[in-house]
Symmetry: D2
Subunit: 153 residues, 4 copies
C-alpha cells in the first residue's frame, strides 16, 4: 500500500577513487534503510512502530539473514552532505522469508539505484529458518507494493 | 574455457555484529577479485597478462562501471586468517559490456556465495559507453565459461 | 567558548566481530562529525553557518588534509539505532592548520572515546599548505575550547 | 631486535573522494598487519610461530582491545595493486598491555604513515585486563625495538 522513505546519510568514506559511492557501499546504504524500517533493537521507550517488527541486532532471539541481493546502478551517486532518500517496500511475503525492494534517490532527486533483498527469518538458537508469525505478517502488510522490474536481468 | 581462482584476504572489519562477513563486504571481496583479474593499473614492469586487459583505476583513460550485481549468500563466511578463494569467469561478452560470474569458497572450501556483475566499458573523457576492442575480446575469450544458474531469481 | 554536539548514526557494518564499533570505524564517525561541522559542500540554499567555513569535498578549491590523529578508546561502543553524540571543538589554530578535539558519547551517554585531529589547509591546485584566512579564523573562534588531556600519551 | 614486514593489500574501497587511502582506512591496514603478526585464529595446522602469540578473533578465550592509537599521515597513499609494506614492532611491554609501532611504506617505498597502538589483554569471560604470561613475554621479546618519535605530538 505504502512505501516508506528513509533518509540515509552518505559518508565521505563511501566514496571511492571514481568520486562516487562505491558499488558495495550502496548495499550498506540499503542495509541502513532496512534496519531503520524493520529493526527495533533498542528504542529508548521500547515501543515498536507498525513497521518495526522484525527484530535484529546482536542480542535478538530471532535474526534476519540476507539470502540474495540484486542491484541495478542507474546513475553515479556523488558525495553530498544532504541525505539520499531510500524508498523501501515489501514486494512479497513468503513462509519464512520476505522480499524487500528499494529505490535510491540522490539529494537532487536522481534515481541512482534500484534493488531487491531476499530476507530469511532465522531462529538465533538453532540457526534455522522460522515462520513469520501472524503478527509479523499483519505488520508487513501495509508495506506491500508492486515488485520492481529489473531491466537487465 | 578456464576460470581463474583468486585468493582474497578477509579483513577483521569485514565481519559485522553477526560474526560473519557482512553482506555488503562480500561485494568488496568480489571487487578485489575483479581488479586482480582485469586491472593493470600499476604493475611495476608495465606488463599485462592475457587476462589483465580492462584498464581501471583513477588515472585510466577508460574505466569500467558496475551496472548491475546479483549475489546469493549460501553460507555464512566467518573470519579467517586464511584467504577465501574467488573463482571468477566471464559468462558473456556484449558490445560495450561483459558479465562476470563468481563463486566464493571459504578457507574450508564451503561454497559461500555465487554472484554476477554486469560491467560497462566507459570512456573517461565523455563518461559514455565505448565498444570493447578486438584485443580486449580476444583477451577475454580464455575466461569464457557457462553462466551461473541462480536458484532464487 | 562553545563545543558543538553532532549526532552521528552508527551503521551495522561499523560493528566488527567483537560486537562493538571497530577501532578504525570510530575514526569514520569522527570524520563525519568534522564534515558536519566544517564542510559546506552543497547546502541546497548555499548558505554557510558560522562554523561551516572550511570547504572540502571533491570539487573544492581548497581542501583539508588529516595530518595526525590520536584516539583513546574508553569504553566499547555497541550497536544502537540511536545516534552517538560527538562533542567537537577547536583546541588550537595555527598558521595553516588547526587542532580538532572530540568526545564521543554512546546513546546511553557513556563516554566511549576522546580524540584529536590535526588538520592542514591545502591549496587544491598545488597540493601545498595555505594560510587560514582572517574570515576562517574569525569563524573558528567561537569553537575554541580547552585542549583534551590524554591519559596514556 | 627485529621488525617484521607485512605486505598488506590496499582495496579500491579504501580510497576516498580525494583519491587516496582514507585516514580511517589507514587504521584498518594497521589492524590487518597486527592480526597477521599476533593472531593465530585458525591456522590449518594449528601451529604458532614465535610471533603469533596473542590470540584473538571471535572465539578466543582471551582477546585484545585497542586502548589508544596515534597516527601521523606523512604522504598520501594512492591506490595500487601492489601491496603496501607495514613494518611492525613492539616498543614496550607492560603488565597487561603492549605498545605496537608501525611504519607504512607505499609500493614505491614512500613512507606514508607512522603509528602506535596500545593493546590491552582482556579475559573474554570477564572482560577484565589480564597479565601477559611468561610465554607471551618471551615470544614478544624478539619484536622489541626503539619507540617511534612522533613529530607533532
Amino acid at each position: 500500500m505504502a512505501r516508506v522513505s528513509i533518509p540515509i546519510q552518505i559518508r565521505w568514506s563511501d566514496i571511492d577513487g571514481y568520486g562516487h559511492v562505491n558499488n558495495a557501499a550502496m548495499l550498506t546504504l540499503l542495509e541502513e534503510a532496512r534496519i531503520a524500517t524493520f529493526w527495533n533493537a533498542d528504542l529508548p521507550d521500547g515501543s515498536a512502530s507498525p513497521t518495526q517488527t522484525l527484530s535484529g541486532g546482536p542480542t535478538a532471539e530471532h535474526f534476519t539473514l540476507v539470502a540474495r541481493q540484486e542491484v541495478e546502478y542507474l546513475a553515479p551517486l556523488p558525495f553530498s552532505q544532504r541525505p539520499v532518500r531510500v524508498d523501501l517496500w515489501v514486494s512479497k511475503v513468503g513462509g519464512a522469508s520476505l522480499e524487500v525492494n528499494y529505490e535510491v534517490f540522490s539529494p537532487d532527486d536522481v534515481r541512482c539505484a534500484i534493488a531487491a533483498t531476499s530476507i530469511v527469518m532465522v531462529e538465533a538458537a538453532t540457526g534455522r529458518p522460522r515462520k513469520l508469525s501472524t503478527e509479523e505478517r499483519a505488520a508487513l502488510e501495509p508495506l506491500l507494493d508492486t515488485p520492481l522490474e529489473f531491466r537487465r536481468r
